[in-house]
């Protein structure tokens, strides 16, 4: 079994005076697609933001391949090899598609460049004809692809995806699902937060369930599919 790419231990996160995460811990190994599941407001996005340094944890530790990265600034964390696609996509609406990609360009933590723009267009053939379009005018699904592509441009060792299916037409959700399966097949490591179970269960290899800011369950995806109690209790399925 390969070593953990990312190891999260004992995270406490606050917004102002209110505590959101209580000792959250999880780990994702090379080549895994880990689903982070939980109800609305359970703390999925907060966990991702905490890992990225966008919501700095008050306690706890995040290490990437054994190197502690918590406490650094978001840009330093990104440079260490994390790529984040936020729940609301946050593309740069006034830039063109290609400019969005260019802004995301950076070498990987070991100086590698596995994602030249040509390869991006190979993996996202839909984006190529749109390269000179103003990103704000793209449809939601196209924006979602752009957001993922932009993050890949930074050659991340680990991809954090926050609700990639939200608000998208079913056909687009399907397409993004195909894309993620493709990424998995080329060995990318992914941590994905989702509400859409159909979508997620067909995609992930492992699952972690979070509820009220605490991890309540972690196992392989088939385990979860078999475990009715957890699914009913925390995922309302």
């Amino acid at each position: 079994m390969s070593a953990a790419v990312i190891e999260v231990a004992d995270l406490d996160v606050y917004y102002g005076t209110s505590q959101i995460l209580f000792g959250v811990g999880l780990s994702v190994r090379q080549g895994e697609t880990m689903a982070l599941l939980g109800r609305n407001g359970a703390g999925k996005s907060t966990t991702m933001k905490a890992i990225m340094g966008l919501a700095p944890p008050r306690r706890g530790k995040v290490s990437l391949r054994g190197v502690v990265i918590s406490g650094r600034k978001p840009h330093a964390i990104a440079r260490a090899g994390l790529g984040f696609v936020p729940e609301d996509r946050q593309i740069f609406p006034e830039h063109t598609v290609e400019d969005n990609l260019v802004i995301g360009k950076k070498r990987g933590p070991d100086g590698q460049d596995e994602w030249p723009i040509k390869r991006i267009y190979e993996v996202f053939p839909l984006l190529e004809p749109l390269r000179h379009r103003i990103a704000g005018r793209l449809s939601g699904g196209e924006q979602q692809m752009l957001a993922i592509a932009r993050t890949l441009m930074g050659n991340p060792a680990l991809l954090l995806l926050d609700e990639p299916s939200e608000g998208l037409a079913p056909i687009i959700v399907q397409r993004i699902g195909e894309l993620l399966r493709q990424l998995r097949s080329i060995g990318s490591t992914v941590l994905i937060a989702e509400q859409n179970m159909h979508f997620c269960l067909g995609l992930a290899s492992h699952a972690t369930v979070i509820d009220k800011g605490q991890i309540v369950y972690a196992a392989g995806i088939d385990d979860l599919k078999a475990n009715d109690t957890i699914r009913r209790r925390y995922l309302a399925l």
């Binding site: 990225m52 966008l54 600034k73 840009h75 740069f92 609406p93 830039h95």
Partner: protein
Amino acid sequence: MDLDALVGCLSSSACLVTQTTSGLIIGMLLFLVAVGLTLIFGVLKVVNFSHGAFYMFGAYFAMTAYQLTGSFALAVLAGAAGTAVLGLIFERVFMSRVYGADVLMQLLVCYAFVLIFDDVVRIIWGPEFKSMGMPAAFQVMPLFIAGGVVPPYYLLLIGVALAAAIVLGIGLSRSRIGKVIRAAAHNPGMVSALGINTGLIYGGVFALGGMLAGLAGALAAPVRSLTPGMGFSVLIESFIVTVIGGMGSILGALIGALLLGLIRSFGSLGFPLFTEGLMYLFMVIVLVSKPTGLFGKEAA
């Protein structure tokens, strides 16, 4: 009102050339100050009320450097570099602490520094006004172009400002750093999550804005008297410029500054007692017909 003078001037090429260049000169110096203002607003959404102080420091730094070295080039360099450093420090140490707070809080921090900087200048250089003096190289007869008078120093000045405008305009729209700066203006969180040090960008933008104002101050030092508080009237005019052009737009700042310069130069002929009022009136008219300035974008 003295419309005859205005009409008379418009029909004479000598007068047209002279007044137009004089408008350009006023406009270009204004542009250098205003573009920093608009840049800082565009990226950090901070209305930098202390921007005039950078203009002031630019002039004082230049004067001191000139007195010490006797070199005008070094003086301009000192003005620009000194204010760049000052801008960086100001942003990193103070402004960076109030991002995310109420906009008025940011205004307040800037206002505090208007007060502090003026007194600092008073303490260092004294309350009296100073004059740097025109470098000998430029103490020459003015040029005559189509009957109009154009001093060589002002040609230099227009050239520098124009170069700054072009470099900035192209730099920001073409280069990656420019794209990143514009993106950071929209969404700093996302930009930093992509691995870009936004703190550096913010500091850099403030340094750049400060440097441009300082450059304007340094270039103005030979022809304007230096006094604590000298940044103020320049600041107000630059605000008019940026608002007319649209907050955050570099092209807007350029056009706004030139328009204002021309309003001044031709307005002083036709409305000698209401030149100032003319500027405000113009601003009101622009904003009423285009509520976000000439090149401003509707806030999302």
